[in-house]
């Protein structure tokens, strides 16, 4: 197996085994998701088919992306920072893997379960909409494209930048910068969401395509930034 995938597989295994962390994430998702959507759901509960589909689409765009990014935030701290606090990173750095492969393996290993959680949330939203309506409610094609292409790329971006910062900086700096980063991400998604709600941006296949390309570019930039990482920076910022 490619060593990058070996690292990714190990991260996923560790995530799957960390029950308390997973329970914490589920609770957070439930509370956050409930608080965000309850008002909207109540307002259209008596509504027609069109408004229910529109609601589902707008809830999905916001919640699936935000909660996917949040999952990436929670899970990345075990994969990157956790390996520094646990001290195992030194041994990993002695393996034949180049630094960027270590980073990439971890990004993949965190991104996959985070995306799985995002898909689960999408599924729950569709199921809830269908219990509210007496006909089949499905998200629009554009929204399906958004979830399949845009969401995973932006989760990877969030995990990539968080992981990079966690490897590069010491514990104290990380505590602050990680929170700043996640707030920045959520704020950006919220702003985008409000543009859509106010009709400033009309979601279409072209917009989804542009977002996808932008995400890939961003990921490339983050990947390029990992050049400034080096083993000494990681080792001298161990707690």
């Amino acid at each position: 197996m490619n060593p990058i995938l070996v690292v990714a597989k190990k991260e996923m295994k560790q995530i799957a085994k960390n029950r308390s962390m997973l329970i914490g994430i589920v609770l957070f998702m439930g509370v956050f998701g409930g608080m965000t959507s309850i008002g909207a759901i109540l307002s259209v509960i008596e509504g027609d088919a069109e408004s229910i589909v529109a609601l589902l689409d707008s809830l999905m765009m916001y919640l699936v992306l935000v909660l996917g990014v949040f999952s990436g935030y929670f899970l990345s701290s075990q994969a990157f920072l956790g390996e520094k606090t646990g001290g195992t990173i030194e041994t990993l750095l002695c393996s034949p893997l180049p630094l960027r492969d270590i980073w990439l393996g971890k990004v993949i290993g965190v991104m996959i379960p985070s995306y799985a959680i995002a898909l689960l949330i999408a599924g729950i939203l569709v199921a809830l909409s269908n219990t509210a309506a007496d006909f089949l409610v499905l998200p629009s094609v554009v929204m399906i494209l958004f979830i399949l292409a845009v969401v995973p790329v932006y989760i990877a971006c969030a995990v990539g930048i968080l992981g990079f910062v966690q490897l590069l900086l010491g514990m104290k700096e990380n505590q602050i910068i990680n929170i700043v980063l996640i707030i920045g991400f959520i704020a950006a998604i919220s702003v985008f969401d409000s543009f859509v709600t106010e009709g400033l941006i009309v979601m279409s296949a072209a917009v989804v395509g542009a977002m996808f390309i932008l995400g890939i570019l961003l990921l490339g930039i983050i990947g390029y930034m990992t050049r400034i990482l080096n083993r000494e920076k990681i080792v001298t910022t161990l707690p």
């Binding site: 197996m1 060593p3 070996v6 690292v7 190990k10 295994k13 560790q14 085994k17 960390n18 646990g86 001290g87 195992t88 030194e90 041994t91 990993l92 750095l93 002695c94 393996s95 034949p96 893997l97 180049p98 080096n230 083993r231 000494e232 080792v235 001298t236």
Partner: protein, 307 residues
Amino acid sequence: MENVVSVLNLKKTFDKKPVLSGISFDVPRGEIFGFLGPNGSGKTTTIRILLGLLRPDSGSALVFEQPLETSDKTRARVGVLLENNGLFDKLTAYENLKYYAELYGIPDVEERIRELLAFTDLTSRKDTLVGTFSTGMKRKLGIARAILHRPEVLFLDEPTSTLDPEAQKMVRDLIVHLSGDESMTVFLSSHNLDEVQKICSRVAILHGGTIKALDSVENLRKNSGVTNVRITLSDSSQVNEARSVVSKIPTVTDFKEIEEGFSVTLSDSSASPVISGLCSAGIAIEEVVKDKRSLEDIYIDVMREEA
């Protein structure tokens, strides 16, 4: 002979505090090299620089003639057990070994893991989470992990410091076996001088940023310049007579009466002037014991000289 490790005029400073002020040494293939020094003398720092985890301020630290930081392929030929065992608490012993086996792409994963678990006596704990292991069990698994991919050189940073006497012996035997049968080169930092004396072909003593001694244990003992000799007399009432004979010998620096005889400190390693002096004075000798100076004595001397 080919040098596996070569360190030349290596300097490293942390926050303006010099830790290594120009150290040089080589480790040839197949050697068990002991790296000694008090707490904070820079042993771990030297190992980290050799492994490419830290950068030298100046000078060089090469393994197989390569700087490990940039030579991915060469890192695959190196095994490491640092202060941290490199194990994940939330994975089982087997899962930990499997991870590293796949990372290094070793061919016979299952067989090799079985062999090493058996060797470290951990077969029955194979599916137990490492987080539940005792400190010593983790260390043993860490050693198995370090040699999993059959490295050509093994860096061990205080491998036995947390082990019970039986496990310490197991690790010592393992190191000797690896160096002998598998011609592995071993770089070992340790505070356990007895252990180092038993297994290391050569030692370096690091102190105050420089290497204070670098030689085989045998040579260090020989060249340390001082020897103790204990002499038991057939007739212990002759001890005062012996004192007057022996104190005339120029190499004798100290005379101490002990039960049934006396002990002298000599400024070189030869006891024959003392023995022949006593014989020609007609003093019968029952037993002569030349105390070999231990590595510990030598180490303490080196530290004292510094002070």
